[in-house]
């Protein structure tokens, strides 16, 4: 047993265990923490397989950005227990699990490439090889994926953005160009008269 083997089993075991905890944890925040642990170990597995670029992307995108926003939402919502009991959700959960299992079994036994392609074609580093493929052979697909993400982003903004009248906003340009003369006004009000906004 070599050191990489040792780390493979470690990562795989922690990955499986934390995946189980993601669905069984009672607190939502704990579930997200276990999800993050699962992501970390998946990244570790990628790196052990020699796919260092994918591993780092997993860390940066999923752990560094997606899971942070997840955690943000879960923490600020403070929903406590998710609604519904396990018994009520069991049929749907089982159905989803069965479909996933079937798909995995299909990939493992029937379809998919039987041989794992060499990670390093032609002796170039894996990042470089990936870049060449993405920006030449698969450039159209890559751009398409980007466009889909853009549409999703615009959709989210359109759904969440609403114009609220009467909100006081800061205008940095106006703040910068403001002079001392405009910001201070000396008033000498008559007794009992007070000062009004417009009374200049």
């Amino acid at each position: 047993m070599t050191a990489p083997d040792l780390f493979f089993w470690l990562c795989a075991a922690v990955l499986m265990m934390s995946s189980v905890f993601v669905v069984s944890a009672r607190s939502l925040v704990h579930a997200v923490f276990f999800l993050i642990l699962a992501f970390l170990n998946a990244a570790g597995l990628f790196i052990l397989l020699g796919a260092e670029f994918l591993g780092m992307m997993m860390l940066i995108v999923y752990v560094g950005a997606v899971a942070v926003l997840f955690l943000f939402v879960v923490m600020t919502l403070d929903t406590g227990q998710p609604g519904g009991t396990l018994r009520a959700r069991l049929p749907a959960a089982l159905a989803a699990g069965a479909i996933l299992l079937l798909e995995l079994a299909f990939v493992a036994f029937a379809g998919g490439p039987t041989e794992v392609p060499e990670p390093l074609p032609g002796g170039v580093s894996n990042t470089r090889a990936l870049g060449r493929l993405i920006y030449t052979d698969y450039a159209a697909l890559f751009e398409l994926a980007g466009a889909i993400l853009l549409v999703a982003m615009i959709g989210a903004i359109v759904l969440a953005h609403r114009y609220r009248p009467g909100v006081r906003r800061q205008d940095p340009v106006r703040q910068f160009v403001r002079q001392q003369g405009e910001s201070i006004r000396l008033e000498d009000p008559a007794v009992g008269a007070g000062v009004s906004e417009q009374g200049r």
Binding site: V29, F33, M56, M75, T76, N126, T127
Partner: protein, 333 residues
Amino acid sequence: MLDAVLTILQVTLGILLVVVPLLVCIAYLTLAERKVIAAAHRRRGPNVVGPFGLLQPFADGLKLLTKEIVIPSRANRVVFVLAPVVTFTLSLAAWAVIPVSEQLVLANINVGVLYLFAISSLAIYGIIMAGWASNSKYPFLGALRSAAQMVSYEVSIGFVIVTVVLCAGSLNLTEIVQAQERIWYVVPLLPMAVVFFISALAETNRAPFDLPEDEAALVAGYATEYSSMLFVMFFLGEYASMILMSAMGTILFLGGWLPVPGTEVLPVPGIVWFALKTAFLLFVFLWVRATLPRYRYDQLMRIGWKVFLPLTLAWVVLTSAVLVAFDWLPEGV
């Protein structure tokens, strides 16, 4: 099996060789901070413990270690203790890929820059966990501020890294430094270097962007409920990430271990140049803290999203256009 044990022992030794000097640097950075700020205030700073106050960090450390660890009764104990550990560990883990000289690097991996970027984006978790586990208002607000701030500034740091990688043609930190032999990237990419430094201030929660621990408004932010050893770990983690950001700036823009142009004949080892450049950037960190007032939170977000993001994005396009137009693209791409 014996092989595996030997490998692990060897790696452990290497890690110790990086971590122990780093801890000493952190200890003296705290002293340097007090001395620099004292100089800015025209005071003397710590000068009682040891000659010139040189033993002050150790006295402070011992004092903090002997304090009692208080865990709030309503806190989530496991996450509460885990949070500072995560912060501290991550700030040390990043050092594995930093090349301090041509040969001296623990792990010379192909995607070194991405590794650094990934680790610095993970650093949020320590703070979010601390804020949530404390189960109290101020730490939670501090944690939310910190998370939003770090996510925002990571975006511009990412684009700064992209411009440097475009010029160097590699994600390997050693190769990035070697690519600067002709000219340090701070010269052609000066605006990016400035954006990087300011984003580094925000990313490490340092003044003038230290809103997560805003002592006037949030007591001490995410660290409010922490004491003793656990607080020390947050504190050390913050300083370690300051040194890390300075080292990153040195590698990306100041030519890493390369000597200052014109002094190549001097027999100065590369590691000394590296240390000097990093120390210079650290000094600027402290200088900024002693000079500038704290930003307002909305101003901080405005700079991040409305100024830095468009600027860096435009600069990425400009850099690639120039590289293609003048056929300056690095070889082997």
